[in-house]
């Protein structure tokens, strides 16, 4: 009897059977496809304009955050409407460092001088060190997310209440940033960066290097998350999503499983925020508040909350559409996004990744495959 454990891709919420290329532990084809995609993407600096490359780099950075949401929301069933907070923490961590690195001895960032500060706030000081800044990009959101989610999950707060708490967190974070103008740059945020560790950020080499760094991190996170989702941890996370009590009464404590997922999601969001800040040259409260946090969930809903590749595709598609729609009709974008969200939630609960999977499951697709592969019946 075949007793091997099925290490298959995440089961859809509907509990429908998995079949087709996603059903078994056959990694070779998806891995080959992913490698080919990464290879093509690596050539982008020579294929697209500098402006387009910058856009692509930003969207890929956001894809890191979106993959984190696949783990947190798709696999863990924990809807977070506060990912903007962790995105912002990562962004501000690297931005603070770049502001400080551009200064001479005893100087203060320009906006602090204008606000009448005469000394650097104590919490800015460690970010003079590039190492602290880079670690801070991941550790500040990670530690905060771990403490916050542990406190909330151990009280068994979940579902809508958790979503509301995270939304309140996003609101509070953006409000705090705006209100503490002398030390945060207020509504304008932090901008006007020159160099990162001695590299001129305006140069083509820096743009290409940062793009490749982003691509490498996206590929690495994709592989890492895939391993994690196929591990026993991933199986338990999905099991907790589908029946937290059953898992608890099999002797597992669900809290740390969810805390780990939420923390990984926050670390990826922090990395995404830092990379985005480097590509965009700015980080501000408008990028981290309630609306951006909801948009992040929509990218993943559109792409497919249980599919890493779907989440990246959804992020790219929604943001490309945003770029097009909002430059032509700035007032329309939020309505269009809301409409897309409602349509996806009602018609395509698995997002576009689910649609692709469904198409692969239809009888004609199977017949086509059997013709191509040459297996009868």
């Amino acid at each position: 009897m075949d007793m091997s454990i099925h290490r298959d891709t995440p089961t859809p919420l509907t509990g429908a059977p998995l079949s087709g290329p996603m059903a078994g532990p056959r990694f070779s084809r998806p891995v080959a496809l992913s490698l080919a995609l990464v290879a093509v993407a690596a050539l982008a600096p020579w294929l697209v304009s500098a402006y387009e490359l910058n856009l692509l780099a930003r969207f890929l950075a956001m894809g890191l955050l979106a993959m984190g949401l696949v783990l947190v929301w798709g696999q863990g069933g924990v809807l977070s409407l506060g990912q903007g907070v962790f995105f912002g923490l990562g962004g501000y961590a690297i931005a603070m460092h770049m502001k400080l690195a551009a200064l001479g001895e005893g100087e203060l960032p320009d906006f602090m001088v204008w606000s009448g500060l005469d000394a650097l706030p104590w919490w800015w000081v460690p970010f003079k060190s590039p190492l602290v800044a880079i670690l801070g990009v991941m550790l500040v959101p990670g530690v905060l997310a771990a403490l916050f989610s542990w406190a909330v999950f151990r009280r068994r707060v979940g579902g809508v209440y958790f979503a509301l708490i995270t939304q309140a967190l996003a609101l509070a974070f953006a409000t705090l940033l705006v209100s503490q103008q002398p030390s945060t740059g207020g509504f304008n945020g932090l901008t006007d960066f020159q160099t990162l560790m001695g590299v001129d950020l305006g140069s083509t080499a820096a743009a290409h290097g940062l793009y490749w760094l982003t691509l490498a991190l996206v590929a690495g996170a994709f592989l890492g998350l895939r391993l994690l989702m196929n591990s026993r941890y991933g199986m338990l996370l999905r099991a907790i999503r589908d029946g937290e009590n059953r898992i608890r009464f099999l002797g597992y404590d669900p809290t740390p499983f969810k805390v780990v997922a939420f923390t990984i999601g926050a670390v990826l969001a922090g990395l995404a925020g830092a990379l985005f800040t480097l590509h965009a040259g700015v980080v501000s409260p408008a990028l981290v508040g309630v609306v951006p946090s909801i948009e992040m969930v929509i990218w993943v809903a559109v792409g497919g909350r249980n599919s890493l590749a779907g989440a990246i595709a959804g992020t790219l598609a929604v943001n490309l559409a945003k770029d097009g729609v909002s430059s032509a009709f700035p007032d329309l974008w939020l309505y269009a996004l809301g409409l897309v969200f409602v349509l996806v939630v009602t018609l395509l609960p698995g997002g576009f990744a689910g649609l692709v999977g469904d198409v692969a499951d239809t009888s004609w697709a199977k017949r086509l495959k059997s013709i191509i592969v040459g297996r009868s019946k």
């Binding site: 591990s231 026993r232 029946g243 002797g251």
Partner: protein
């Protein structure tokens, strides 16, 4: 670990160490309504006990209290000589109690075999879930249970696709897979036909000895097939205890319970 002593030794075992579970005067108060009211019960190692009582008697609440889902307002639950009344649920389970819920609690998104593998896992601390590889002993145990519950040929379909009776069996299998010393089976035959019911009775009888089993049910033919000591509860309180035959004849029990069941059966 907690291997049951061979049958020939049971008579010589010190009765205190042979005691597995003691529910000691437990009251559960739901906003003034006492679902359990000073209820006590003891179970010896390796025995089978059936708990019956009319709907709302507090049987499920008793299981909930033992496993920590519901907390006793007063009284204690002693398991293997230790007070477990206030432990977190997963701690109680790790000490050796597992419960089957009244409505089947299988993980419908996971395959049948994954349901069992999760249950069979001995090290359930979270950081161990990152380890690769499957314990050979756990695997063998799961294969064994799959055969026993008759789902070997359906091991890889999602548990949500099983028929109702098969889900009940899978959940019994999961409870057994945890190697718990004490199994709490809440209405394991709900929704089963006569043939499935007697198969379930045979399955449960095979578990006794290795495990201590507390079964909740009110199907009379099922009780007869189990042929175990019966405890009757009523309105959260102990009513009677005895053999199936004695309980059947008991006038008090008939008044609160059996009479009604007979009416239902004939009606």
């Amino acid at each position: 670990m907690n291997a049951t002593a061979p049958a020939s030794h049971i008579g010589t075992i010190d009765p205190v160490t042979n005691l597995l579970l003691a529910v000691d005067g437990v009251t559960v108060d739901f906003d003034g309504f006492k679902a359990l009211n000073g209820f006590s019960l003891t179970l010896d190692r390796g025995t089978l006990r059936v708990l019956i009582g009319p709907n709302g008697a507090g049987k499920s609440t008793l299981c909930d209290t033992i496993i920590g889902r519901v907390r006793a307002t007063s009284g204690r639950v002693i398991f293997k000589g230790q007070d477990i009344t206030h432990l977190p649920e997963h701690e109680i389970v790790r000490r050796g109690i597992c419960r089957k819920f009244q409505t089947p609690g299988v993980l419908s998104g996971l395959s049948v075999v994954d349901n069992l593998m999760i249950a069979a896992r001995r090290d359930r601390r979270w950081w161990c879930s990152f380890r690769q590889g499957v314990d050979a002993e756990e695997k063998a145990r799961v294969a064994d249970i799959l055969e026993t519950i008759g789902l070997a040929d359906r091991a890889h379909i999602p548990a949500g696709q099983l028929a109702h009776g098969e889900k009940q069996w899978l959940e019994i299998g999961m409870v057994v897979a945890t190697r718990a010393d004490l199994l709490l089976l809440d209405e394991p035959t709900a929704g089963m036909g006569p043939a499935e019911t007697s198969q379930t009775a045979a399955l449960i009888r095979r578990l006794v000895g290795q495990h201590t089993v507390l079964v909740i049910d009110h199907d009379m033919s099922f009780l007869e097939q189990l042929d175990a000591r019966v405890t009757v509860m009523h309105q959260g309180q102990f009513l009677k205890e005895g053999s199936v035959a004695a309980i059947r004849e008991d006038a008090d029990v008939a008044a609160v319970y059996l009479g009604r069941t007979k009416e239902e059966k004939h009606g």
